[in-house]
Amino acid sequence: MPIVTFFPLGNADCCRLDLAGGQKLLFDYANTRCADDPTDKRIDLEQELRSDLKAAKRDFYDVVAFTHLDTDHFCKATEFFELRHASKYQGKDRVKINTMWVPAAVIYEDRADLAEEGRVIQAEARYRLEKGDGIRVFSRPAALQAWLKSRGLTLDSRSHMITDAGQVVPGFSLPEHGVEFFVHSPFASRQDDGTFADRNTCSLVMQVVCEVLGRKTKVILPADTTHEVWTEIVGITRFHGRDERLEWDVFKLPHHCSYLVLGPDKGTDKTEPVEAVRWIFEEQGQLGAIVVSTSDPIPTSGDDDQPPHRQAANYYRDTRRENGTFLVTMEHPKPSAPEPLVITIDQRKATVKKRAIAASVAVTSVSAPRAGARS
């Protein structure tokens, strides 16, 4: 049974996908918790992931995707993962990445504003692509040609590690793994002069399709993506007659419930979406579909510039009121004590787990506090 887990990390991302066959995939890693602050309700991501790996008797992920090189997608990742390009990132406690997934820009774009950890991850991605091992780049292949050439490599020698938009990621299939990954972004749009313009090269957008006993459940996992980009994605998808590639049962919102995902105007109480985005949220969501905002709790009033925006949340709440659920990672199961948001997928599609754990189970799942006469 596939399981999708989102972690309460504030305005930051990490999503784990556990497949029926035992494979583990991680989409982003941002351990944002402030360890010195006992009131910080964000989870200790490292500890959470390590105990899961320990239970699974593993020290690696099959795939770790860095969907976007902003701090809220990679915070402290360089302390957690083993990186191949420099020995200082290696050691027995570090968690291995069998295959790293990155969008094209991570390879060929030198961003001046990139944080130090981002540079390290970029170096790792480039190292793996140069070595030709343990990497998948999401890009129009030709867009990588110049970079490869600068390293003395040909496109042919690396093309099997590159997946373009509109394709399904090789190595996973519905019959064999019960899952497939369809790539929406980065993509390219054809210009009037017949050339291609590469778009949204810094963000990965995927539709994950899980199949259990013949029933498909679709999860959209996008990195930060604005309404302009969604409009293009919808246009391309519908142009190719593949509406089903934007159907969804679980939708992880981009950018922590920012109104810019929906439209250009925040609105007073509710953001109105542009038509393409409206189509996605109002027509493509399946019966009982779940919207997940990986963010801080939604403010009840005020007008903060930073997401989450209550106006955007109101839109999602309204569209899901009749049919489905809108969930916020820092509010689940309750804002005073957020916990990982676990969604199981089976022949009844997605179920948000709401199990109240019996005391005997809780107590025996952890060490007891220190006791004894000597203090």
Partner: protein, 752 residues
């Protein structure tokens, strides 16, 4: 999808005005947000109860079997006396009818049936958190359509009347009885009434029986397939007809036809009608029915139904058939009382309820239906393990019932007959157990029958507590299937299993000998075969158990034996196993004894049987003493009837023996005492059978002149008992010469 709720009972009050402690606790915890996924909506007080209204968050999948919503509002009514489990009402107006609700399931609000346990059992571990967790589990599992685990028999809580009906198993299977839109008669075989509540027993009616007018008349009607909705509760024949008519059935027409037939048999008019309705369920309109739901109703007497359906009128002169039938009479007044339905089980059900995948249909012969045998067989019957033929010649006597599977009802009858009948009645398969009343050793006129059964058996189980039966099965009985013996030790505290290997290389009689050897040599079996002290004994054999023996021992061992029998039936190798009950603690320990490969020599008309274990022992003793010779006495047993000598063990060279390079004189110091121990520890089953000694390396295995003298000496002594003796000579390269010392087979030896 805005939820509309019905008003909960009572008037709104503050938490402090509640009086039932459980209600106060629940409301307090909810108001403090101390229970996960639940929140307080309202506190109320009604006439006889405190009412807590709460919202619970449910774990619901996207695709739901029943429309349970992510948040459900419930009212919990705690009666002021706390005498019954709190009522839980689903307040949403359109809360679906689902399994596990109290009837009528077409009412609003719906009342959830949360607990199978009795309230007094629940009270001991009742907490508000436990209660809310149970509510949430109910909602979660109902949403998934998994409220019933597969191994959990569905008990309909359909009938608030408390009446029950027990139906034949065949009616639980769609294919077996009755086509769609057809009614078949069902015989009512018994009715038990307790405080106004009926339990009605039924069977498939083979044919209509005449005689005394039955007080109840039962019909089973199979409807057209329905989609998998819950069945609402009809209160009249008219309502039931309407429910079935929605999918094309015409119940009224079927009943009218039946009534016309019945009008020919006036003695059934006062009988009350029991109507059994089987509704096949399928997931989609095109699919075949996957399951069926059976509901049953107690209706009015036939006379009144005929009137209610316009088939006849009661006139002062009797019954007047109505022609044509007034179609407007549709049974609006024919009231139906719901019966909760139970089915008799099949062998497959019995196996599954015993935790096994399916019934085991191998043919098993069970010999001996005494204390242990009857209980082993009944254990197997309850688990549908094997189709048995029970062979036993005895009648059940009054004193037997203290430790027999049968009770007083069987006294005076043959054990095999009653046991087979009782075993068959456990399930709907009435042919699974068969019997032959015979002594397997002297079957008389039944010889051919017994031998035929043995020949065709897949497994033969000896439960006869008789060495003779064991030897017969090992050596003389027909058939090639494996034999397994179970018996108790004389004290009844230990159970012994001797199980042949699949190819029958190690047979019961050799296992029996190896068991004796372990009985005196193996520390773990110390005291196993000793005569029980102070016990009254009537038996002569070591397998006859004491007359004073607690049933607890027999029951415990019968449970082990039934379980082990399943394992033994599928094992490749032979097994010799003893279970011992620790008298003080009732702890059971198990002793596994390795079965050893049998060896055989035929010397004249005598057969000598020994085994690899004996060979190993003798070889070891010889090697220890080399270059000197050594020797000792041989232990074993005689089967004079079959001219067989078993040689199974040795008491090694006594300390006063003379052991030299070409000479051995067996001493005797302590020998008698040791032999006595061997006899005591084996219930006299092991005895002296002869002598052995070794020859040094380089020496022949052939008997020397001196050896022949020993043979003569042995022959002379054994002759006084009318028995032969054995002389064995062990020499280099593990060779062993075996000689029978007897007046008839003098000096015979097998060396090539």
């Amino acid at each position: 999808m805005t939820n509309r709720y019905v008003d909960p009972p009572g008037e709104g009050v503050g938490v402090s005005q509640l009086s039932v402690p459980k209600a106060c606790d629940l409301a307090g915890r909810l108001s403090r947000d101390a229970i996960a996924f639940a929140s307080l909506v309202d506190c109320r007080v009604a006439d006889a109860s405190d009412v807590i209204v709460l919202d619970v968050e449910t774990e619901t999948p996207q695709v739901r079997e029943y429309d349970i919503r992510p948040v459900e509002r419930l009212a919990v009514c705690f009666d002021h006396e706390d005498s019954a489990s709190p009522q839980v009402l689903a307040l949403r107006e359109d809360f679906p009818a689902t399994p596990h609700q109290y009837p009528p399931t077409d009412s609003v609000p719906k009342r959830l049936c949360l607990f199978e346990e009795e309230y007094p059992d629940l009270q001991r571990r009742w907490t508000a958190a436990f209660f809310v967790r149970r509510i949430r589990d109910w909602l979660r599992l109902t949403a998934r359509g998994e409220m019933h685990a597969q191994d959990q028999p569905l008990e309909q809580v359909f009938a608030v009347t408390g009446h029950r009906i027990i139906l034949p198993h065949a009616l639980s299977k769609l294919a077996d009885v009755g086509a769609t839109n057809e009614a078949v008669p069902v015989a009512v075989t018994g009715v038990d009434e307790y405080r106004g509540r009926l339990t009605i027993l039924t069977a498939i009616a083979e044919r209509a029986k005449t005689g005394a007018p039955p007080p109840y008349l039962a019909l089973s009607f199979t409807s057209a397939p329905h989609p998998p909705d819950a069945i609402a509760t009809p209160h009249t024949i008219s309502e039931l007809h309407d429910f079935l008519a929605a999918h094309g059935d015409d119940l009224i027409a079927v009943l009218r036809r039946r009534l016309l037939e019945w009008s020919q048999q006036p003695n059934v008019f006062s009988s009350q009608l029991i109507l059994i309705v089987r509704v096949p369920k399928r997931r989609d309109a095109a699919g075949a029915p996957e399951t069926s739901e059976t509901v049953a109703f107690l209706g009015p007497p036939v006379r009144d139904i005929g009137t209610a359906l316009g088939v006849w009128e009661i006139t002062p002169r009797g019954l007047a058939l109505m022609v044509p039938v007034p179609q407007e009479r549709r049974g609006e007044n024919a009231m139906l009382e719901g019966l909760s339905v139970h089915f008799r089980i099949s062998r497959a059900d019995a196996a599954q309820l015993n935790g096994r995948d399916s019934a085991d249909d191998r043919r098993i012969i069970g010999i001996g239906a005494g204390a242990l045998g009857s209980q082993v067989i009944m254990n197997c019957a309850r688990a549908a393990f094997g189709r048995w033929t029970i062979i036993d010649r005895d009648r059940l006597l009054p004193h037997n019932v203290t430790r027999h599977a049968l009770g007083e009802f069987g006294v005076g009858y043959h054990k095999a007959v009653v046991l087979a009948s009782v075993a068959n009645l456990l399930t709907d398969d009435l042919d699974a157990f068969d019997f032959v009343v015979a002594d397997v050793l002297a079957p008389g006129p039944d010889r051919q029958l017994v031998e035929e059964r043995l020949d065709k058996a897949d497994l033969i189980v000896d439960l006869a507590a008789s060495i003779a039966v064991g030897r017969y099965l090992a050596l003389d009985a027909p058939g090639s299937s494996r034999r397994v013996s179970f018996f108790l030790n004389p004290a009844g505290s230990d159970l012994v299993m001797l199980s042949e290997d699949r190819d029958r290389q190690v047979r019961l009689h050799m296992l029996e000998m190896q068991y004796y050897r372990a009985g005196w040599r193996d520390e773990r079996l110390r005291g196993h075969l000793r005569r029980p002290e102070g016990g009254v004994r009537y038996g002569r054999s070591c397998r006859d158990v004491s007359l004073r023996l607690p049933q607890e021992f027999v029951g415990l061992h019968a449970a082990i034996a039934a379980r082990e029998l399943r394992g033994a039936a599928d094992r490749d190798g032979a097994a010799l196993r003893v279970w011992r009950i620790e008298n003080d603690s009732s702890q059971v320990s198990v002793v596994d004894v390795d079965a050893s490969a049998p060896l055989r020599e035929t010397l004249g008309d005598w057969t000598v049987l020994y085994d690899a274990e004996l060979l190993k022992t003798i070889r070891g003793l010889r090697a220890q003493r080399l270059p000197n010779e050594t020797g000792g006495i041989l232990l074993g047993a005689f089967d004079v009837e079959r001219k067989t000598i078993y040689v199974i063990d040795t008491i090694p060279s006594p300390v006063d023996s003379e052991e030299r390079q070409t000479l051995y004189i067996r001493g005797c110091e302590g020998l008698r005492e040791q032999l006595e121990v061997a006899r005591r520890e084996t219930f006299d089953q092991l005895e002296y059978v002869g002598e052995w000694h070794s020859h040094p390396d380089g020496a022949s295995c052939l008997p020397s002149g001196a050896d022949l003298t020993v043979l003569d000496w042995l022959t002379g002594h054994m002759e006084t008992d009318g028995l032969p003796g054995i002389l064995m000579i062990a020499c280099e390269r593990d060779q062993l010469a075996v000689m029978v010392a007897s007046v008839t087979v003098r000096h015979a030896h097998p060396l090539e």
